[in-house]
Symmetry: C2
Subunit: 326 residues, 2 copies
């Protein structure tokens, strides 16, 4: 674990413990099977980044109540629900080094447990009595479902543009991060500027986070990553490092890259060849540059807040998003 | 079409037209594929019973605005979302005589369009500004997902009890009918008694409706029904006519029935044999009796309302639930 991550984790230790407790407490399944599947997806080493953003954002807006921990569950449950539905979509096999739920249980059951988690999110949102928070959840769900469909339609498209890629990660990831931060401003009755600033922070952080995540597929060992090497490509997901390198490569190299991408049975050697091209044509470098820019936007968005330990953690989280290895 | 159904349809003709328009108007998909799948499930001959209950309930509570049509979409979208998710669960092949969505499109896409419809429901609920309505949706979604899982766990269980059956249809059907009626009372700012009465009406009507629906599998030609004969049994669904007949049959007949139920490849002759036993051991008769009782409870619940044409339609709907052939 790098030093930065250790420092962040140390600073939010109590929050993470409170979040774990809240996630357990608010799940309330009636059926053992629901409990099992929900636990499999919820309690298997997630980073709790989204609920943590909720708790920190609330504190930044001077919130002193205890509902922030409850509210934070909304975004982890939503995240888990979409993981359950998306892993079916992606026909993924591993997540965080463990077999994905739909390999252990029937597809159909997994879908329904996803629905259950979505319902739990809603229940908590209804408790706030704030229609804006329900609107946030509706907006997130609408974006995530359509973003995921868009991603499916983009499968194996070697002509995918950066703009089309952005459209997908915005809908899939940024909108959820944005909601996790903005909802806190709402329960804290923050000023409109503060609400907008946190929404902006979350949105940009989400983009940076997803770009860094997409990069990991090409920069990290599969053992560390907990999924197959080149898993994104095997699922037909064309991400920014690839899009950029394809654009910059000469015609001959481009054809060579495309044949590796389109051939789902590529071997380790093919994958290494592709990685060399991504490096050579600056796909990696460009993605890091873009992610760094979005992380910088995220930090800039916090400018209206006075310096404070909480603000510093949010800044550190934005930096960490770029450095993480898993 | 029988006379009663014709009369009801005539009385609610304008409402049904307004509901169709609202369903089209509020769908707002961004992607053509979402639009296609949503249309496939939403505009293929549904009875619009749930939105109709919303509109009629609002009118019964003296509601004069126009939001009732919008609100009514919530319950049809929720219904359609669960149909999309449930048809995957059930591995069904036909619905309303047409191939189910997941045979035409990928499972995963169908799941995501279900999520999209759920999100649209939520968006509309948020527009009401009433947290109670969001709570209703959360409660419906939680019940429907767990009810469907319960139904899966009950698959092929020849020892299923009537109480266990009731638990499933309550969660799967009654809670949605209840919500469709109760939400109207809320937007109409009805008295607490009226809200409770409508909730009660919807709940009991839902039970009657589902029992009558389960009966159709044994009493109606498959051509009329638009799905395979004995489809419920082929999906392992053990419903009230079967539960009751199994309980009342002598040991030898019971074994014979069980072997037909457990053997999914039963032929027409086997199915006819089973139907005869359901009749002989009064499984059909008992189910009709129970459905009639719940329909009567539904009508009784409306006692606190003054006689009016709208009240009469709601009463007629409860009677019709028992008579319907499809």
């Amino acid at each position: 674990m790098n030093k930065r991550k250790k420092e962040i984790l140390n600073a939010v230790k109590d929050d993470l413990e409170a979040i774990e407790k809240a996630l357990q407490h608010h799940l309330q399944p009636h059926l053992e099977l629901v409990s099992q599947i929900a636990h499999h997806i919820l309690f298997s080493g997630g980073k709790r980044l989204r609920p943590l953003l909720t708790v920190l954002s609330a504190r930044l807006c001077r919130y002193t109540g205890s509902f922030d921990k409850t509210l934070s569950c909304v975004f982890e449950y939503l995240h888990a629900a979409t993981l359950l539905h998306d892993d079916i979509v992606d026909a993924a096999t591993l997540r965080r080094g463990k077999p994905v739920a739909h390999l252990t249980w029937e597809n159909s059951t997994v879908v329904l447990v996803g629905d259950f988690l979505l319902a739990r999110s809603l229940s908590i949102a209804a408790q706030t009595g704030l229609p804006e928070i329900v609107e946030i959840i509706a907006y997130i769900t609408e974006n995530m479902s359509q973003g995921e469909i868009r991603q499916m339609l983009n499968k194996n498209r070697v002509d995918l543009t950066e703009a089309e890629y952005l459209e997908v990660i915005q809908a899939k990831t940024a909108v959820l991060f944005q909601g996790a931060c903005r909802a806190s401003a709402l329960i804290a009755k923050a000023l409109p500027d503060e609400e907008a600033a946190l929404a902006n922070y979350g949105y940009n952080l989400g983009l940076a986070f997803q770009m860094a995540d997409d990069l990991l597929d090409y920069t990290t060992d599969s053992a560390v990553l907990g999924k197959e090497p080149g898993a994104d490509l095997k699922e037909g997901k064309v991400t920014l490092p690839v899009i950029y390198a394809l654009k910059k490569a000469d015609a001959k190299t481009r054809l060579q890259m495309e044949s590796i991408i389109i051939n789902k049975d590529f071997n380790t050697e093919d994958f290494e060849t592709l990685r060399l091209f991504l490096k050579k044509y600056k796909g990696i470098e460009y993605t890091i540059k873009q992610a760094t820019q979005y992380a910088a936007n995220a930090k800039d968005a916090l400018a209206i807040f006075e310096p404070s330990p909480t603000k510093q953690i949010l800044i550190d989280v934005a930096d960490y998003a770029l450095l993480r290895k898993t």
